[in-house]
């Protein structure tokens, strides 16, 4: 029971941290994709969408190569800050963030696209600069869509398995999430323990998707 609580709490924390990590960048990127034309836009769109279409273990392998001790980012982080990522809780957060990013960016992009540009134009003529227009018109009007995207990203991060197992491994008390716990118990033939974690996972995912749907429905009604 204690172990299940610990795994559930860890999974929730990891999903929340992963979502929080990508939220500012995801909002900025979603806005840039919705409102601006810039060189390399198509490339960035493709890169952001990649985790949706390639196998999660492949994404995990890419992250392992980039953030391992000999990887570009891993070596820099280790030498500059003395921080190791792989096979720690930080790797779990990283995997959750990367896998959740496409869902967040796509939802945020649509949310900004649905904000009528004429409202932003009128705000400019009323004396507001681009930043004030963003924070007083664009962001509030896209807020429900952004929240829905955040909840979807959180749900995706909560269920992450393939990339996590590649970059974080299975270290009890350190990197074990609900998904990894279920897999581990099944491997050991402990189906009853896996079932408990399954029920917890399903309940959390159901709640997250229900909240997201509620927010999107409210946005549709408002628009």
């Amino acid at each position: 029971m204690h172990e299940n609580l610990q795994i559930t709490a860890f999974s929730l924390l990891v999903a929340a941290a992963g979502t929080a990590l990508i939220l500012p960048g995801g909002i900025a990127l979603g806005w840039l994709l919705a409102r601006k034309t810039w060189p390399g836009k198509a490339l960035v769109e493709t890169l952001v969408a990649l985790p949706l279409v390639i196998p999660p273990v492949a994404t995990g392998l890419i992250l392992l190569k980039l953030f391992g001790r000999n990887g570009i980012f891993g070596a820099w982080l280790s030498q500059t800050f003395g921080v190791d990522i792989v096979f720690t809780w930080k790797a779990v957060v990283l995997a959750a963030a990367v896998m959740a990013l496409p869902l967040l960016v796509r939802t945020v992009r649509v949310a900004f696209e649905e904000v009528p540009t004429r409202l932003e134009h009128v705000a400019r003529t009323l004396g507001s600069g681009p930043w004030r227009v963003f924070f007083t018109v664009s962001l509030p009007l896209a807020a429900r869509g952004i929240c829905a995207g955040g909840v979807l990203a959180f749900a995706r991060a909560l269920g992450e398995f393939g990339a996590t197992v590649m970059i974080a491994g299975f270290i009890p008390g350190e990197t074990v999430t609900l998904s990894l716990g279920i897999y581990h118990h099944v491997q050991l033939g402990q189906d009853d323990r896996a079932l408990v974690l399954l029920v917890i996972s399903a309940a959390l995912a159901f709640a997250a998707v229900a909240v997201s749907e509620y927010l999107l429905r409210r946005r549709d009604r408002a628009s």
């Binding site: 134009h121 009128v122 009323l126 009007l141």
Partner: protein
């Protein structure tokens, strides 16, 4: 108000908008069919679009000059812009919409007093209402008040009456005359309804697929018959045949 478009060109999607003229008046109308370039012209004036070539001036103030790559930002032009549906912010109530413009413009002219505007445009009973609870006419009155509270040097009105019934049209037209004559705010008024332009404007520019085809007083532009058919004139530079 003196409005100058000096060799202005702007690619407006389906056609190239090419305007070069100088007009003076208290209320200047832009007339033409849908897709003639009226809204693009207003957006160029408001600074929401950038002309590829040419210069735009209002009362000798340069708003944009493509040759010098100069483009005054929309928030610094002091031009009130009221689009077709008023474009009120749906996440704010009426009072918050009105405050939005005022708070963004610290140098508000005392001539545009809240009380006077509230009375002229009859918006006091609406202040606590949500935007979704307003009728079309009420929306336009609030949008006019919001634009006027920023003390604009002129008002750009893009078909403000197109979605209103006859009663509201008459009422808003009267308010626009008050704004023009008593608040002394010049108007640029876009419409494809000759009746509105005759009632409000002292000069009318006729646009057709991005080009000026006629300029003059409404009585010169529109035939004095009930159908309000307007005479098309050749552009000044066109050779006579």
């Amino acid at each position: 108000m003196n409005l100058v478009f000096d060799q202005v060109q702007f690619s407006a999607g389906r056609f190239l908008l090419e305007i070069s003229t100088s007009v003076e008046g208290k209320a200047i109308g832009l007339f033409g069919d849908s897709g003639a370039g009226k809204t693009s012209t207003v957006e160029l004036l408001a600074g929401l679009r950038r002309a590829q070539t040419g210069k735009i001036l209002v009362d000798d103030v340069v708003l944009s000059d493509a040759s010098r790559r100069y483009h005054l930002a929309p928030e610094k032009r002091s031009l009130g812009y009221v689009p077709q549906d008023g474009a009120l912010f749906p996440h704010l109530n009426v009072l918050e919409n009105l405050r939005y413009g005022r708070s963004a413009s610290p140098s508000a002219n005392p001539a545009f007093k809240w009380d006077a505007l509230a009375e002229t445009l009859r918006i006091t009973p609406l202040l606590e209402r949500r935007i979704t609870a307003l009728s079309g006419g009420e929306r336009q009155r609030v949008a006019l008040a919001r634009a006027l509270l920023t003390s604009p040097r002129l008002l750009l009105l893009d078909e403000p009456l197109s979605s209103l019934d006859a009663t509201h049209t008459t009422s808003i037209l009267q308010m626009l005359k008050t704004i023009r004559d008593e608040l002394h705010v010049p108007l640029i008024y876009v419409s494809h309804q000759p009746e509105e332009l005759v009632a409000l404007c002292d000069h009318v520019i006729v646009l057709d697929r991005g080009r000026i085809t006629a300029i003059g007083q409404p009585s010169q532009i529109f035939e004095p018959c009930s159908a309000f058919r307007y005479r098309r004139k050749s552009p000044p530079s066109a050779p006579s045949t």
